[in-house]
Symmetry: C2
């Protein structure tokens, strides 16, 4: 009935809070390697599938036409912190396509990095759509529209030709139904579709292995995941979980968070795709779960596994820097 | 085993996330009126018990000696947003006792209000301990120390004479054990003790009714809760849940959030104390639960109940202001 406890929040000697959720791990053939909790329940992947949504950017040749390297492709797959380097790169991507921030339809918000917010405010600035954590993805979207001569106005809408391109890509890669009946609207206004957690794991197993994608798409998938692994700062930002996970095992782990407690990951050398959903939507818990799952899957490499295991047990400090508690994987979070 | 689902997060037509937890409602005699989930499990109340921790401020006569009215007492019970009015009132409270922010041992952080953070940064400022959401409570603590000639250095420590005063007050009001074995350290460095959820409800039922407190303490409790209900802005801040709940039924509801999904509340006219803990520590969920519980308890007043019911069903908007979902009480959240 209820999903198992995956993460404990400990203060002093007491478990203060706990997080339940589900984990799906599948191989490139779509075979379940490990499942914990209800992996058939539909989950909105939110930003965790940005790498799949970025496939048209490579497949359309827009990325090549605009001379995009690993940093630009990583930013197209990112939920970035709105740090200056993220903002400037998104601006440069748009400029390559002859556009500027006025074309972005993601909405504006202050940088998710408090440091970046304070820096921007001190400089007398205000947030624009470029500071939106999704601005890299949207810049990639707009580049595809321009390169393919798709009129970009309204590109975020479910009825727009470009979103139809993204939707059909999601259907093909995950194998899941994406329709009006399971559609919601994401924070940045594009559609997001609730699909079984297992389908998200299948999607990333295919992204990592190329299985069932065909040669061109397999190459595009490899290029996108490689870009993220090569430039993890551009996928998230300073101190962020995605960045630290990918830095812990350079070139070996792809990991991407989504809002409301979702994490997707892939390990190419094992041919595995991983999808996690914490029932309560807590990002802090999803971060612990993905780090622990990756640590256990890479147990053969003690050094990498140790670094990931440490990320799965973050200390909690209070405003005076005192150690007051920690997050930790629950007993039941064990991949047999 | 697992606590029931109390809150659903809905996007489109799909439940995206859910929150489990427990609710205890007791009367002034400590008799259980309603219980849902495990109300015996120990819970750190965190900031939800600030009104109880503020009893020494009134009982010691420090509040009278320094001329504190409802605003100062409300701020002593507050987790404020660090807005200018909060910061200045905390500063003024300290000044009455001949102290300034250097005496505060709560640590500094940027205001929890993003608007206040941006305003502070734009003015070239940096956060001090006065911006800490607990600075009003700590200012009250320091006023007691000064008035009672207790050396205030180290006043946050579990071994300090002042914290022993707070601890014994907590024991007497809640009836629960507060010892080294169930002690943790709070965000602002004072001790916090994990006690049964039911004990927290008992504490607030006694605060609301005066039962078992004795005449002097009963009067102090009434004065503190009345101050919070009279000045709800000073208990939290612009747009915050505690402020909006107390504004929804002026003078009739006391409500105070604590970190990690805790809420305590009291309704004097019904002689009830209420304590809520969301298992996963989500404040957004605790806010929905307390609003719904209060709405159901005050169902006899359609206007008040309606306002509270609306607070229990907040809409979720994205960065473009589009309605993308809502939070809502789960089916099972029904006080029979």
């Amino acid at each position: 009935m209820s999903n198992p406890v995956l993460v404990e929040v400990v203060r002093g000697n007491t478990v203060e809070s706990l997080h339940r959720g589900a984990i799906a791990i599948v191989d490139g053939d779509g075979k379940s390697v490990f499942a914990l909790g209800d992996v058939e329940r539909p989950v909105f992947p939110r930003s965790a599938v940005k790498a799949i949504q970025a496939l048209p950017l490579v497949e359309s040749s827009a990325a090549d036409a605009y001379g995009f390297g690993a940093k630009e492709l990583a930013l197209a797959c990112a939920s970035h912190s709105g740090e200056p380097a993220h903002v400037e790169l998104a601006r440069a991507m748009l400029a390559k396509a002859g556009l500027d921030e006025a074309a972005l339809e993601c909405g504006a918000h202050w940088p998710s990095s408090q440091d970046a917010t304070v820096t921007l405010a001190r400089a007398g600035g205000s947030p624009s759509a470029l500071h939106n954590n999704c601005s890299g993805k949207h810049s990639g979207f707009l580049c595809v529209c321009r390169h393919c001569s798709i009129a970009h106005h309204g590109y975020v809408g479910a009825g727009h030709a470009f979103q139809e391109m993204v939707r059909s890509t999601m259907v093909e890669v995950t194998g899941a139904h994406h329709g009006a009946d399971n559609r919601g609207t994401d924070g940045c206004s594009i559609p997001t579709y609730a699909v079984p957690l297992r389908s998200l794991a299948i999607g990333f197993a295919r992204m990592a292995t190329g299985n069932r994608l065909g040669g061109e798409r397999a190459a595009a998938a490899k290029r996108l995941l490689s870009a993220c692994m090569a430039e993890p700062f551009y996928v998230a930002g300073t101190g962020r979980a995605c960045t630290r996970l990918m830095e812990a095992a350079p070139g070996r782990i792809f990991a991407k968070i989504g809002a409301e407690g979702v994490y997707c990951a892939a390990i190419e050398e094992l041919g595995l795709g991983i999808a996690i959903k914490c029932d309560d939507g807590a990002g802090r818990a999803a971060e612990v779960v993905v780090a622990e799952v990756l640590s256990q899957l890479l147990a053969g490499d003690g050094s990498v596994s140790g670094r990931l295991g440490k990320l799965a047990r973050p200390e909690l400090q209070n405003w005076n820097g005192m150690l007051v508690g920690r997050l930790q994987p629950a007993e039941g979070l064990r991949i047999r």
